[in-house]
Symmetry: C2
Subunit: 102 residues, 2 copies
DNA sequence: TTATTATTTCGATATTTCTAGAAATATAGG
DNA sequence: CCTATATTTCTAGAAATATCGAAATAATAA
């Protein structure tokens, strides 16, 4: 189980529209992820700003990067996100039963 | 489905240790929630600071409050949290299959 | 070597968030 | 009315975050 501060830090990172969009873009990008430049073009975030957000996401473990020559491919870390989801379900949904109609 | 900005805003709120602790405390508190004062004593957060965090959480819909005489009871909004979890699963886990061993 | 492409680092500013004491408000009881 | 209790609002300083142009770095190709 992820520890509380890692959970909080990761949720905080996803709690920003730019970073949430980046993560979703990467999820859609397929198994090899996407180069920083592609994210930049698709989401139209200035590169220095993008780099800032990416490094924060890498830092908490939401994404990983690997360099191929000049290009850096970014990948969503699904296990990390699963960890977050599990935390929310196990720690924050105790005693709650979803109604059958949903 | 919750919209993106509501998701981001809610994740940002949970992305703070005080607020994450508050939410978890409320989840454990049972069906009638907990008074602000009880949260204050349990988590030892100065009341003005606590009030600040609570009002932020109410604002995005993570908790609801109802007043009984002088006391305000706080309740976690499970439907809201479920909305967040569903968003993360549907929008951020596409194409990911958890390995069977976990 | 020079140029080109991909990305990050630096630096500066603007904005938001966090924190908590002090004062204010609301409600109840004596 | 006076006092006690519960909570919020006001205020302000400190810290963190967001933004982005310009310069720097890295890798490749010409």
């Amino acid at each position: 189980m992820m520890d509380d501060s890692n959970v909080a830090a990761s949720l905080a990172e996803l709690g920003n529209m730019h970073r949430l969009s980046i993560f979703r873009f990467l999820v859609k990008a397929g198994h090899e992820g996407a180069p920083v430049g592609d994210i930049q073009k698709a989401l139209e975030i200035p590169s220095s700003t993008l780099s800032h957000h990416l490094s924060r996401m890498v830092k908490v473990g939401l994404i990983t990067q690997n360099k191929k020559s000049r290009t850096i491919f970014c990948l969503p870390n699904f296990e990390h996100l699963e960890g977050l989801i599990s935390f929310l379900q196990e720690e924050c949904c105790m005693g709650y039963e979803k109604s059958a109609s949903r």
